[in-house]
């Protein structure tokens, strides 16, 4: 498979015109790596070196320990000079690891970096054939022979430079997106923040307190939301959907649909007089439907932008709001959806998560027993600005409960529902338990039925201790065979569970709170399709590399932050927001973005415009475009990953893959077949 990595090379001003021609006969140098004992303990490196010397056009071969080291690189550079090498092969590890290092190394010795080739004798020979060193040595020889066959035909190339639009799009205005937006706006980049709902803030804006410090959530996030709202470099496009994204790193073209609020944002002062005049109420999603809002209203007091929205599903069109708004004339019942197009150089995806509705889990009794709540419902109950004014009361009789039980892992850590751990439930349950205990003290009994308590970040274990000291009872139970039953007379609840030793646990409570799973957003598959990204088995977006590139996606120029990549708490999301912002800044701060030239090239004279390549391309990098009187395939340089599928699909042989040309591949095949496996 051709490899292609984005590299940060100093930008060069001119675009490649024609491939540079090499006129001299190939003089190949082969450097064989011992890699400590990784290679040398299995493969007879000296035998391989001697063999390499016998191959045609190889004028120099040597083995050394760690060519990737500074000393090793110096040796390569010197040998290029002394032996007048014009092709270099390093036989060692995977090109994914060190190819960029060696390319830089040879270019420092005035050799074109695409005249360098790597032969992988570690992963493909020493690692996988540890017990058969003789055969491994033969395989290493074969691998080098194949590399030499190709290297003879390598052509010098020039990197491709893409222009950069110095603007960024952030999809999703939760805490991760907010942080990324502020970082980038402060670096003087223009930021567009597209938010699906009426206000930015995400789930954090709906929380009462944050663990483990019990800081008021909106008091921390509110000022940041306001900063986003008034930053001259940030434009919030709320109540809007992403429709289509085309283009590539440096220049994405994004089509956005702004849904009608029926209120002209520029004229709305957020005074709320319309809301007071409105006669209609409907269940408020921001209150988890525990409370109501007016048909013209904002979802919560700290909403940004502070623009009211009319919900036409409930509005009865009495126009009392129009009268109340008066001379401000902010209300426009004729507003239509509006399509806008923006150009950006990079995109940050921060679409967050959704909450699982546990009504499918019959054992929980959720939706059936009135006093069973989800954690987020409880959050709105205990919140002073919530629908009950901060009073924790039961749904059945409006009374304060004397006992509350929390059940962990509802829907998550369950192979039939969501296999993963939702990561923040343990901590928010501790938060709820501590808040209840510190608010009502002895007047309330708090039970937590958990399976594993995961309190593994700064200050979290201490918080668990605080919960235990405050009198919260913790009972470890199995995730199987849990059941909530209700006494129909009192609406009190009983939880039946089992311990690991199969002892029966029975807990009575007047209110039950479920730590329901956090899940991928409903819109994730659609967003993935629009952006050309992949979703993992768990439904969250897949990162480029889970350990060292957690905020990169597989598409260059599209980064991600926060829970859309996997569930995480606030500090982690904030950190990822800033991380993604830094990555975007490293793109936008350049005048152009340099990519490896190993991408498809169309010979327009041969192209018949049949479109086979267009449908074969998984990266949507090829499109048919009119040129004169015929259509020809056109490759979007930034999107092409150099996989070569189009090249094999083309019936006219019009697609060329630089340095993966037919004659190079044929030469490699011939090198494999010219000498049969030695063991026969």
């Amino acid at each position: 498979m051709p490899k292609k990595t984005l590299k940060q090379k100093p930008p060069t001003s001119q675009k490649p015109k024609k491939p540079l021609k090499t006129t001299q006969p190939p003089r190949i140098g082969v450097f064989i790596c011992q890699c400590g004992t990784n290679i040398a303990s299995v493969i007879n490196v000296q035998e391989v070196t001697d063999y390499a010397k016998t191959l045609p056009n190889v004028v120099h071969a040597e083995n050394m320990n760690y060519p990737c080291s500074r000393q090793g690189q110096q040796t390569i550079k010197t040998t290029i000079k002394t032996q007048k090498l014009n092709r270099v092969i390093v036989a060692g590890c995977s090109p994914r690891l060190y190819e960029p290092t060696f390319q830089t190394c040879v270019s420092e010795a005035q050799l074109n970096p695409w005249l360098f080739e790597m032969a992988n004798i570690r992963e493909f020979a020493s690692y996988c054939h540890k017990t058969t060193p003789k055969e491994a040595t033969e395989k290493a020889k074969d691998t080098i022979r194949i590399a030499v066959a190709k290297t003879r035909l390598l052509e010098p190339l020039k990197p491709i430079e893409l222009p950069i639009t110095k603007k960024v799009l952030i999809i999703g205005g939760g805490i991760a997106g907010i942080n990324a937006a502020l970082d980038l706006a402060d670096m003087n980049f223009k930021v567009y923040m597209v938010e699906k709902t009426e206000t930015i803030g995400g789930y954090m804006a709906l929380l009462d307190k944050t663990f483990p410090t019990l800081d008021c959530s909106i008091c921390i996030e509110g000022p940041k939301m306001v900063d986003v709202g008034r930053h001259p470099n940030i434009e919030i496009i709320s109540y809007a959907d992403i429709q289509k994204v085309t283009g590539n790193i440096g220049n994405f073209n994004v089509k956005i649909r702004k849904n009608p609020r029926y209120v002209i944002a520029a004229n709305c002062t957020g005074c709320g007089e319309c809301r007071d005049a409105c006669p209609i109420e409907y269940p408020n999603y921001a209150d988890m439907y525990l409370g109501v809002r007016k048909a013209i209203s904002i979802p919560f007091g700290q909403a940004v932008p502070l623009t009211h929205t009319i919900n036409r599903d409930y509005c009865i069109e009495c126009y009392k709001c129009v009268d109340a708004c008066g001379a401000r004339q902010a209300i426009d019942f004729d507003q239509k959806p509006q399509e806008i197009t923006i150009n950006v150089g990079a995109i940050i995806l921060s679409t967050g998560y959704d909450m699982y509705n546990p009504k499918d889990l019959e054992w929980t009794g959720y939706g059936k027993h009135q006093n069973v709540f989800t954690a987020l419902e409880f959050e709105r109950l205990i919140l002073a600005a919530g629908p009950t004014g901060g009073k924790v009361v039961r749904a059945s009789d409006g009374q304060k409960p004397h006992s509350v039980a929390f059940i962990q892992c509802v829907g998550s850590r369950d192979i039939n529902h969501y296999e993963y751990c939702s990561s923040f439930c343990c901590m928010y349950t501790l938060k709820h338990a501590v808040m209840l205990k510190e608010k009502y003290r002895e007047a309330i009994e708090v039970n937590v039925l958990y399976n594993d308590m995961r309190s593994n970040f700064k200050g979290y274990e201490e918080f668990f201790n605080r919960a235990q000291k405050s009198g919260v009872k913790f009972t470890r139970v199995k995730l199987e065979n849990r059941r909530v039953t209700e006494d129909p007379k009192t609406n009190n609840l009983t939880i039946h569970a089992e311990t690991e030793n199969e002892e029966i646990v029975t807990v009575h409570a007047e209110m039950v709170v479920l730590a329901n799973a956090a899940i991928p957003t409903q819109t994730s598959p659609e967003i993935a399709k629009i952006l050309g990204l992949q979703l993992g088995k768990d439904g969250f977006f897949i990162e480029c590399q889970p350990k060292i590139r957690p905020t990169d996606t597989s598409v260059p120029g599209i980064f991600m932050a926060g829970a859309c990549q996997g569930l995480k708490d606030i500090p982690y999301s904030v950190a990822q927001g800033s991380a993604a912002a830094a990555q975007v800044a490293s793109v936008l701060s350049r005048d152009s973005w340099s990519i490896e030239p190993l991408i498809a090239q169309i010979n327009e004279d041969l192209c018949s415009g049949c479109g086979v390549c267009e449908s074969a391309c998984s990266y949507r990098a090829i499109s048919l475009q009119r040129k004169g009187d015929k259509s020809v395939a056109k490759v979007a340089d930034g999107l092409c990953r150099g996989c070569g599928i189009c090249s094999s699909a083309c019936p006219m042989d019009a697609v060329k893959m630089p340095n993966y040309s037919d004659n190079q591949i044929v030469a490699q095949i011939q090198a494999v077949t010219e000498k049969k496996a030695i063991l026969k």
């Binding site: 005049a277 409105c278 006669p279 209609i280 109420e281 409907y282 269940p283 988890m288 439907y289 525990l290 409370g291 109501v292 048909a295 599903d313 409930y314 009865i316 069109e317 009495c318 126009y319 009392k320 009268d323 509705n357 009504k359 959720y366 939706g367 027993h369 009135q370 006093n371 069973v372 709540f373 989800t374 419902e377 109950l381 629908p387 009950t388 749904a395």
Partner: protein, 313 residues
Amino acid sequence: MPLRTTKKETDQALSLEWALHVRNYQLTLDKNKCVGCQICSLACPKEAVKTTKPTKTQQQKTQKATVDVDLAKCNFCGICDAACPYGAIKLTIDGKHELNVIEKQSFPTLTRDIQADPNKFPKNHKEAEDACPLSLIKITYTLPDGEPTENPTSLTEPDRSWYKTNINIDKDHCTCCTACTTKLPDGAIHVHKFITGKLKINPTKCSDGCTLCLDTCPITGTLYLSHQDNKIHVNEASCIYCGACKLACPVDEALELKRTSINHTPIRSGTWNKALERLTSPTDLTKELKTKGSQKAREAVRKRTMPEDQKDA
């Protein structure tokens, strides 16, 4: 607990509920009071209330149209409650009869202009109470000391001249049909109809001897079967133009109903304008708006009723 929306139906009532943690909305249709007149359906701004003509098989049991409310469309605004001439639909919020649409002046109340003069009421309470076809008049008597008394005729002569007649009219359910005004002595009661209009029966279409409309009409004496031509005739003096008869009639165009105006508390509301347009006609709405001098609203009606091809001009 998540938001619970429920819909229950019994022979007596249809009830819809939004149960939120902090609020409980309940809409109840009293099937005994409902006559199937369609006014609620026409007034509903969300097209949530559907009145359906009885099917052939249903006609055996009942003649009146059935009312159904779509839980998915209903927003518990209570306009059906405010509009029902029979007071058959009630909206309660947390158990209290509360109509925000009226309080915020988004919908008017129907003007039930009823004035009774106890002095001119007949001494016989049964006669007085029977004057209302819907039995909404209740007469009680009290002695000077405030003691209620059952039957004043049994009182001794001095007491009899002192007793007080109390007339209790259930105004919430009164249709203002004015039937009582003709049955009671002159000047005893003054009632103004809140709906005016025209009801005509086409004798050529009306089936001989069919009394489905007559059986549906709650106001006795408004419709009658003439022995001369064996057809239904209408006495518009007590007709409230509710339209229950029209829905009960199995023959198209046998009954012709036209409402022209609705007497209501003064209001400026788009919801009402649209409801009025459906209840009467665009022309009648324009008339009302003209009286109110609401040029802007009148223009909106004109635009809306204009044929599609002329709209851009």
